[in-house]
């Protein structure tokens, strides 16, 4: 399956396998999970890979427990991950909110399937875009990444770990089933070429340490449990020392700092691809496997002389507002194809704010969006 070529390792890998490999490369040493289609291959691979590198894999009794276990492990300093799909992602939401509040780095892979409920267990969908943003209760920042190829799953898994560590925040990796189960060629980067970020750790003695204090970046340093920095961690509102406090001043500054640390990091958390937009009269905004269909549709449209381009957000949350606003100023129409009944399009419409019409192409049948569906919309708009 793999061979050495010019110093690089070339592999033919399934998306879920690439995710597991990348987690190891990113330094993940603890995984807790629960079986669920279509994500199970990630757990299966990591159950083999982790013990070999001295890491720990544990299959927990349920999705909630898996989320709790990774957060406990993360408190000891480990880089941690869990993987699930829609129903399991719903179950994890309360503990994801805990990770936001207690600022515990972790990566949650959600291989999206059709919902609601048990829905379509092995069919593709992009059903959890809004769950990734608002799944847990209360105001909170959210980071979600949506890769569109096996290679990008590898890259974005590493980036998910990096962002989660540097910003002390849970990061969701939203993979649609098509990409997760697709096999593609992957040039595995040499470990020396992979840039890894670590969580900030305290540089002051324990008596001066503030585990939830404000800093220039908004991210406080995080001490590993058992290293002399004894402190309290709670999902309650808390002061800089982590002790429960609910005065209006403390609550207000705490939640605003949680939001601000991600706003300050926007430039490096944001990632999107632009294709053929310089001369485009029509812009397609698409992500994940829908972006692959969109690219095919755009090629066909351009062959027919229609100037159309693609804006492909890789980071869905925080939403690439400026890029979408810039697109709306340049094109006459925006098309948003999604394998749901319109989720990210709501955000596109909000940001475009009437600058140009926004059109939807949706499919929720458990099938990928055929390029023809998007092409038909492009041609319709080009004629209008």
């Amino acid at each position: 399956m793999s061979k050495q070529m010019q110093g690089r390792q070339i592999k033919l890998l399934q998306g879920n396998e690439a995710c597991a490999d990348a987690a190891i490369a990113a330094g993940c040493r603890f995984f807790a999970g629960y079986p669920i289609s279509p994500s199970s291959e990630i757990a299966e691979h990591l159950s083999v890979l982790l013990p070999r590198v001295g890491g720990k894999f544990i299959q927990m009794e349920d999705e909630i427990a898996a989320m709790g276990a990774i957060l406990g492990a993360a408190m000891t300093g480990a880089k941690v991950m869990t993987a699930t799909s829609g129903p399991g992602y719903s179950l994890k939401q309360e503990n994801i909110g805990y990770a936001v509040m207690a600022e515990i780095p972790c990566v949650i892979v959600d291989v999206m399937r059709g919902g609601p409920s048990t829905g379509l267990p092995t069919s593709p969908a992009q059903s959890d875009v809004m769950q990734a943003r608002w799944g847990t209760h209360g105001d909170h920042p959210a980071v979600a990444l949506a890769p569109a190829s096996v290679r990008e799953i590898y890259e974005e898994t590493i980036r998910a770990f990096n962002i989660s560590e540097r910003y002390r925040i849970p990061v969701s990796l939203l993979i649609d089933e098509i990409i997760a189960h697709m096999r593609e060629r992957l040039v595995v980067p040499d470990p020396s070429q992979i840039v890894l970020w670590q969580r900030p750790r305290p540089t002051v003695p324990p008596e001066q340490y503030l585990p939830f204090g404000d800093t220039a970046t908004g991210v406080p340093p995080m001490a590993d449990f058992g290293t002399g920095y004894r402190y309290h961690v709670t999902g309650l509102y808390h002061d800089a020392r982590g002790l429960p406090k609910d005065t209006p001043e403390i609550v207000d500054s705490a939640i605003r700092r949680l939001m601000r640390k991600i706003e300050l990091g926007m430039a490096e958390i944001q990632k999107y691809e632009e294709v053929g937009l310089l001369d485009a009269a029509v812009g397609v905004v698409a992500y994940g496997s829908s972006a692959r269909s969109a690219k095919a549709a755009i090629r066909m449209a351009r062959a027919r002389g229609i100037s159309v381009g693609l804006l492909r957000p890789v980071t869905l949350w925080p939403f690439p507002e400026n890029a979408v606003r810039g697109l709306a100023d340049r094109v006459k129409h925006i098309i948003v194809p999604e394998m749901n009944l319109g989720q990210l399009v709501l955000e596109v419409e909000r940001v475009v704010a009437g600058r140009c019409p926004v059109h939807r192409v949706n499919r929720v049948t458990g099938e990928p969006i055929p390029p023809g569906d998007i092409l038909a919309k492009i041609e319709e708009l080009a004629k209008a």
Binding site: K56, G68, A73, N95, F225, R230, G235
Partner: protein
């Protein structure tokens, strides 16, 4: 005089517990037991869920993790497996451990993972105002059972033994010296240890049931029998009594130690230098 302050976060006081609550008695017992085991504060990770008793870790100077309702055993499993050198003590209530967290309770026991679980059983949901708990005796009044509960209660110790726990003890907040010894034994035991403590919530269990604080404490004394004394008693004498003490102890492979062996095995097989 025992130096409690050595282990307390004094700036956190006064605590949230009602006058007469058993939680403070149990907390002091826990601190004495930790002291007797001789552990350093840095070596201890204390994990709790949600509820009155789960506020305890906020008051003590260890690595403390106050998690979500019912989930402390899931978090604690992650802490212990990722960093076996830590002594992990779980502080949980009867609702936290046996209702919303029941699944984690039986599976942590099944794995026999080296956690010490101190289960505060006050037969009610105190923090939320005295609703029916999985431990409320049938017939008693709760704010969601105003005409008396028709639900049968759980026996946490029997449940733990059946699920695979290897150290199972029951004590009361009245018999605090016995409680010290049982907690100490639980911490020293390598495996899943449960110490269930019968204690009172005079505010939300006593008041609606018209039982005074003194009566609640006397009940702990009069209705429990130490397992050693029980051996000399007849079935008639034991009628209606609750047995306390170390109810069960067994040797069985511990989960984290087993995992370390598993790592060594697969690394040897794969030719990885450990």
């Amino acid at each position: 005089m025992f130096d409690y302050e050595k282990y307390l976060r004094l700036e956190m006081f006064p605590h949230i517990w009602c006058p007469g609550c058993g939680d403070g008695i149990v907390m002091k017992s826990l601190l004495r037991a930790i002291d007797r085991v001789g552990l350093q504060k840095d070596e201890i990770c204390m994990v709790s869920g949600i509820g009155c008793s789960s506020r305890l870790p906020g008051y003590v100077d260890f690595n403390t993790l106050h998690t979500t309702h019912g989930r402390p055993l899931a978090f604690a499993t992650g802490v212990k497996l990722a960093k076996p050198a830590l002594t992990v003590i779980v502080v949980t209530g009867d609702g936290d451990a046996l209702a919303i967290g029941g699944n984690h309770f039986i599976h942590a026991a099944r794995r026999n993972i080296d956690l010490t679980v101190l289960l505060f059983n006050n037969a009610t949901y105190g923090m939320t105002g005295g609703q029916l708990a999985p431990t409320t005796p049938t017939g008693k009044i709760a704010s969601t059972a105003r005409d008396g509960s028709i639900d049968p209660p759980f026996d946490a110790c029997k449940l733990a033994i059946a699920a695979g726990a290897t150290y199972v003890a029951r004590a009361t907040s009245y018999h605090s010296q016995q409680l010290d010894r049982l907690i100490e034994g639980g911490i020293k035991h390598k495996g899943f240890s449960l110490i269930e403590v019968l204690e009172n919530c005079n505010t939300y269990y006593g008041r609606p049931n018209k039982i005074s604080l003194v009566e609640l404490l006397e009940w702990e004394k009069d209705n429990t029998v130490n397992i050693k004394a029980a051996e000399r008693m007849t079935p008639e004498q034991l009628q209606g009594k609750i047995i306390t003490g170390l109810l069960y102890q067994a040797g069985r492979p511990e989960y984290v130690a087993g995992y370390e062996q598993h790592i060594a095995r697969v690394q040897a097989k794969a030719g990885v230098a450990a």
